[in-house]
């Protein structure tokens, strides 16, 4: 089995690693790049815990081969906070207690980020359907939705103030 040399951009940094052909992007992030913030909950694309953003698209990293990341821009949870400052979504999640065990949280934050980039003013229903691919077993989603909608409002305000 020969490995494939992959070069990509992860959270703004150029990276390279060796991937076996069958390795998923999730495995590569966790095992080759030591970015363990992205989680495996099911390995079959049904829980969203492995969500990352690739070339601006929200995807399940367990459903992508590591080799497919060649030349692509990948954003993971580790890149959400910038310069020691939490992103408004992260702050609102904490403020609203939108996490309990925290395992689904990285995937949810990435999904929420992608939501607000695609639709800065979602209704509660739109947000629920967008986030349906992220399973949470602890919270019942109530506080997650409140946090996301609150962050959306704050981001809209910041944009109009700017």
């Amino acid at each position: 089995m020969s490995k494939i040399h992959v070069t990509a951009n992860v959270n703004g940094d150029a990276v390279e690693f060796l991937a076996s052909p069958g390795m998923t992007l999730l495995d590569a992030l966790r095992d080759e790049l030591s970015l363990t913030g992205t989680k495996e909950g099911c390995g079959s694309g049904d829980c969203g815990a492995c969500s990352v953003i690739v070339d601006g698209r929200l995807v399940c990293s367990c459903l992508m081969l590591a080799a497919e990341a060649e030349g692509r821009r990948v954003q993971t949870i580790e890149g959400l906070a910038q310069g020691g400052r939490l992103h408004p979504l992260q702050e609102k999640f904490l403020e609203h207690a939108a996490l309990q065990c925290g395992f689904c949280t990285p995937g949810l934050l990435m999904a929420a980020k992608a939501l607000l980039e695609a639709n800065p003013d979602p209704t509660e229903t739109e947000a629920r359907y967008w986030l349906a691919g992220n399973l949470c077993r602890c919270t019942g989603y109530d506080k997650i939705l409140r946090a996301v909608l609150d962050a959306a409002a704050e981001l809209r305000q910041a944009r109009s103030a700017a």
Binding site: S20, G45, R57, C60, C62, G133
Partner: protein
Amino acid sequence: MSQLAYIAPTDSQDAVRALSADGARPLGGGTDLLVQLRAGRAKPRAIVDLKRLPGLVGIREESGGFVIGAATSGAEIGEHPSLRTAWPGVVEAANLIGSTQVQGRATLAGNLCNASPAADSVPALVAARAVCVILGPQGRRETLVEALPVAPGRTSLQPGEFVLEFRLPPRPPRSADAYLRLIPRTEMDIAVVGAAVSLTLDADGAVSAAELALGAVAPTVLRVEAGGGALVGSRLDEAALEALATAARAACRPISDKRGTAEYRTKIAGVLARRAALIAYERAGGQR
């Protein structure tokens, strides 16, 4: 897994050659293939990633119709304004596949060629009379979408063949389509039943052409000609809708499995056919 090779050709002839080899599988979005790999249900020798081939990703308008690259993601399909206007049913069907994350990768070709009886985009494409353009060792050929799935998990593609693009025909005025599916939750489930209706109205608002296609009620997608026929000439009055539902139920050959009983599926096929017809009718500007 240790024998597995990954190839990402940039030339279509290289792709044909790679796919002609024994144990080669094409890769589009990977949302079915990777699940099967992980579960040990698929054990390919080579994975041929088609996404870097010219024309495989992207949507264009051509000769009044649309050409959708076989490896275009559901998300991209959902964002295309004129496609959404002309074919709301095809777009909503494609956008029902999986989660937002799956939408970021899933492709029409993958959904079709995975040949699940419950594939969401297929009934809508069949009702739309969509055509797929196939490339293979014998060159290019075109065929209606419904000719591809032959059994659960099997298509009529020959070794080395792959789908290049989908073509949607030009749309007469006062045309619209719709796709509905029944799932136990609100999202994330495989369709228990899927129903697609496409219709065209004449100047008086009566149906001049109609198509009904059903998913998840037979080993492959069903084009229900009697269903479409039941609507022609009508303004979707109760009798026409009942005839449509009857035709839908009569066409079903479902199984009972962990997602639904055969009896249930048959009943629901009738219900969804009616509801999809009403939505398509309203979209097309019809008034009952």
